[in-house]
């Protein structure tokens, strides 16, 4: 479970996130959406323990990410928008390294399953500079999943993927959600959010402006509106 309690993040005098609170229960897939510069990436980085919150608290399965980061991070997989792979490690070596970091003992079988799932067969021994953007994205996500995390944080997971890759990625996210993982997906692709997320949080200028299921958001706005129309309405972009 992810508990975000009055989370704030400041960069100098700039307030990126302000008093943001929400909970993601096991099995939930929450879509975090907002305009450019709304504070989505800052929020996700705070949840993953990459940024220290300026104020407020983030708890992962009861472990405070600020005071007990190591235990909290054991349960998290953070998939960044831009896959950053180690230049001189092959695909398989990335998986091996991540497995060791997270203490995964049955690395070989899990790696094989992930290579199959993400269609990386034949690329196991390739270095990152021989991979396309989409392939790198798949490797980064496979690394994130090798320790069977129960909290998954995706920042623009579909960027760079081909149509088949997009379909598989959506299936992967939904399957992990069904298996009981608490998932946050940040994306500008509203149809993706509409399709796979069980709940939606909309933020603007670092502040939460809407939170609920699609049906609840439609109820609050006006029935018949799709997510795009709701998004534009609550962020006052139209």
């Amino acid at each position: 479970m992810i508990l975000v309690d009055r989370l704030s993040k400041r960069y100098g005098s700039f307030q990126a996130v302000h008093a943001l609170s929400f909970i993601v229960e096991p099995g939930e897939i929450v879509g975090l959406i907002g305009p450019n510069g709304a504070g989505k990436t800052s929020t996700l980085r705070c949840l993953a323990g990459i940024h220290a919150p300026s104020d407020g608290r983030v708890s992962i399965h009861g472990y405070d990410i600020g005071t007990d980061p190591v235990e909290a991070k054991r349960h998290i997989a953070f998939m960044a928008d831009e896959p950053q792979l180690f230049e001189y490690l092959t695909v398989m070596e990335h998986l091996q390294l991540t497995a060791r970091i997270y203490g995964v003992t049955d690395f070989a079988s899990r790696a094989k399953a992930l290579v199959d799932e993400f269609e990386l067969e034949g690329k196991e021994h390739s270095l990152p500079n021989a991979l396309s953007r989409g392939m790198k994205q798949k490797v980064a996500i496979a690394c994130g999943l090798i320790h069977s995390p129960t909290v998954l944080i995706f920042d623009e997971p579909l960027t760079g993927l081909d149509p088949l890759g997009i379909r598989h990625m959506k299936e992967t996210i939904v399957e992990r959600g069904r298996a009981g993982a608490a998932i946050i997906v940040s994306s500008h692709l509203l149809h993706l959010v509409e399709e796979i997320c069980t709940r939606i949080v909309i933020i603007d200028h670092g502040v939460k402006v809407a939170d609920g299921t699609l049906a609840e958001l439609q109820e609050k706005a006006a029935s018949g509106l799709n997510l795009e129309q709701i998004f534009l309405a609550v962020t006052a972009q139209e």
Binding site: Y11, R45, A48, G49, I50, H51, A52, P69, V70, E71, A72, K73, R74, I76, F78, A80, Q84, F86, E87, Y88, L89, T90, E93, Q96, L97, A99, R100, I101, Y102, G103, V104, T105, F107, H125, S126, L127, N129, A130, L131, S132, R133, M135
Partner: protein, 568 residues
């Protein structure tokens, strides 16, 4: 179209200058800029006499004044070697003319003829040699404005000609360009061999020269007559201009030099560019080119097998060792061959003075120098630690590890690898030490004891430096993140970090030296002898303890480091 490209060039230069001036408002750049200015002033501009009563670099000027023909022959030989090796050494994996991602996106898709694109990039590549020439002119301290102008013109023409020639070679060596390369390679090999054989065959007469003047005269004779003289003649014509003593002499030499430079330009712009080769320098394009540039590590083994369980530091050691091992490709080693050969020649000449068996003495001295180099400069060069991993900070910070564990793991690989190198060369020097002549007689047991002491000190000194480099990387991540950045402010930043590093090493060594001194004194008092291995071991232990404490502190710093701090 030329107007558009000129606009792009000038506007980019103007904006780059403006942004550099603007960033001086930030303290880190202001400090760097001040330090850089101070350095340039103190070492290159200030004309006041130094302790020897002569301006800096006056030694070279005096040497060039005394032996101008010798300097011409030496410079010509160097130019010939560079020109020949450009054909003979393996091609660099980097793109021939480096196109920026924006240039690929805008210019490759624009209605611009490839020939014009080549001209544009070749002309832009001419700017940096001009700056280098200006720098070299200042370094050589011209006495008058006229000699400065003449010196700059001469150096600029040499550097420009060389740069244009190398661009021309690189354009013709692109893969898939269909060019026949055997002829220039044969010519280059013959030219190189002719000069090398001339020197080799006349080595006895060179070595037996009784005076500096005699050696110079013999070398000039070899470089100006016979086959070597013919091979070197165009290079001598180039090298002579900056040494012209009067404007009239310079004017007389200029036409030939200008002609050579113009021919080099003509040759460079007549080359064609492979857009694929240029594009693969862009990561996004690299994958689309596919098998031609695919880098497969299938046959390369990892340095050791990573166990599924154990301390996380081992995983970092494994990862960074792989990175280090994959950097050293056969091509890179082949490129280093000329440097090693040159070093061996220098060492061999130096070894003549040791009185030992010449060849083995040379190898022994080479081992000593290499071990010293590994300890003194290795930590600066081997950056497979946090310095290289700062761009992965987001990934590292997301891992469930304490900051101290990450820092400790990161510093392990360079420390272990450099220590192994140092040990290898120390062992080599010890094995061949009988071929070296020492000022005092040193028995075998004493040599072994000394070698063991040095072998114990090496890892400690290496680790301290690696930890300090990583501390600097964490304290000033933006400074480390821009290895290709240039400018007075960047040079100043590097000076500041170098000063901090030296200070750090001194501070770290004081407690170790004190502890070693105390232990050594106690042993001497008790036994009447002092085995150097024991104090060396004490130094090692103290340095290791200091590094362990430092990595704990750096771990906290790592945890507090914001990925935003990486922005230059």
């Amino acid at each position: 179209m030329a107007g558009a490209l000129l606009f792009l060039t000038l506007r980019s230069a103007r904006n780059a200058l403006a942004s550099r001036i603007k960033r001086l408002r930030q303290p880190r750049y202001a400090v760097g800029f001040s330090a850089g200015l101070l350095y340039v002033y103190a070492f290159f501009i200030r004309r006041g006499p130094n302790r020897t009563g002569r301006p800096a670099f006056s030694g070279f000027a005096a040497f060039a004044g005394e032996y101008p023909d010798l300097v011409v022959v030496i410079v010509a030989t160097l130019l010939m070697a560079i020109a020949a090796l450009a054909w003979l050494l393996p091609r660099s994996s980097r793109a021939t003319l480096k196109f920026l991602p924006a240039e690929v996106q805008f210019l490759f898709t624009a209605p611009i003829a490839r020939r014009r694109l080549v001209r544009y990039k070749v002309l832009r590549s001419c700017v940096r040699p001009l700056l280098s020439a200006a720098f070299l002119t200042v370094v050589f301290h011209p006495v008058t404005l006229m000699t400065a102008i003449l010196g700059f013109t001469g150096i600029a023409l040499i550097v420009e000609t060389l740069s244009l020639y190398l661009v021309g070679v690189a354009l013709r060596r692109q893969p898939g360009m269909g060019a026949t390369l055997w002829l220039p390679r044969v010519v280059a090999a013959c030219a190189f061999a002719a000069v090398a054989m001339t020197v080799g065959l006349n080595w006895t007469s060179l070595a037996s020269a009784r005076s500096e003047g005699g050696f110079a005269t013999e070398l000039v004779r070899l470089g100006t007559t016979g086959i070597a003289g013919a091979v070197l003649s165009p290079f001598r014509a180039l090298a002579r201009l900056p040494l012209a003593a009067t404007p009239m002499e310079s004017l007389a030499l200029a036409p030939v030099t200008l002609l050579i430079c113009a021919l080099a330009y003509r040759w460079a712009v007549s080359g064609d560019i492979s857009t694929e080769d240029a594009a693969i320098s862009q990561p996004a394009e690299r994958a689309t080119v596919g098998p031609a540039v695919a880098t497969d590590a299938k046959r390369k083994k990892t340095p050791f097998e990573l166990a599924a369980e154990g301390r996380p530091e081992a995983a970092f050691l494994w990862k960074n060792s792989i990175a280090a091992s994959r950097v050293f490709s056969a091509k890179i080693l082949l490129r280093a061959v000329p440097m090693v050969l040159a070093l061996l020649v220098v060492v061999s000449v130096a070894a003549r003075n040791t009185g030992g068996t010449r060849a083995l003495g040379a190898v022994a001295m080479f081992c000593v120098m290499a071990a010293g180099y590994a300890v003194a400069f290795g930590p600066q060069l081997a950056q497979h630690d946090l310095r290289g991993d700062l761009r992965h900070l987001q990934t590292l910070k997301a891992w469930p590890l304490r900051g101290a564990v990450i820092v400790r793991g990161e510093v392990l690989a360079p420390a272990v690898l450099l220590s192994c190198f140092a040990w290898m060369f120390i062992a080599g020097a010890l094995a061949l030490s009988s071929n070296l002549q020492f000022a005092i007689t040193v028995s075998w047991p004493d040599r072994v004891s000394l070698a063991l002491a040095v072998a114990l000190l090496a890892p400690g000194l290496i680790l301290v430096q690696v930890v300090l480099h990583n501390a600097i990387a964490l304290l000033f991540p933006a400074w480390v993140q821009a290895p290709n950045a240039r400018g007075v402010d960047v040079a100043g930043q590097r000076l500041v970090t170098m000063a901090a590093l030296l200070l750090g090493i001194a501070v770290a060594c004081v407690p170790a030296a004190l502890a070693a001194g105390l232990v050594g004194f106690a042993i001497r008092q008790a036994l009447g002898v002092l085995p150097v291995v024991v104090p060396a071991a004490v130094v090692l232990v103290v340095l290791f303890i200091e590094c362990a404490v430092a990595t704990e502190a750096l771990g906290g710093l790592f945890e507090r480091t914001d990925i935003g701090a990486l922005q230059p």
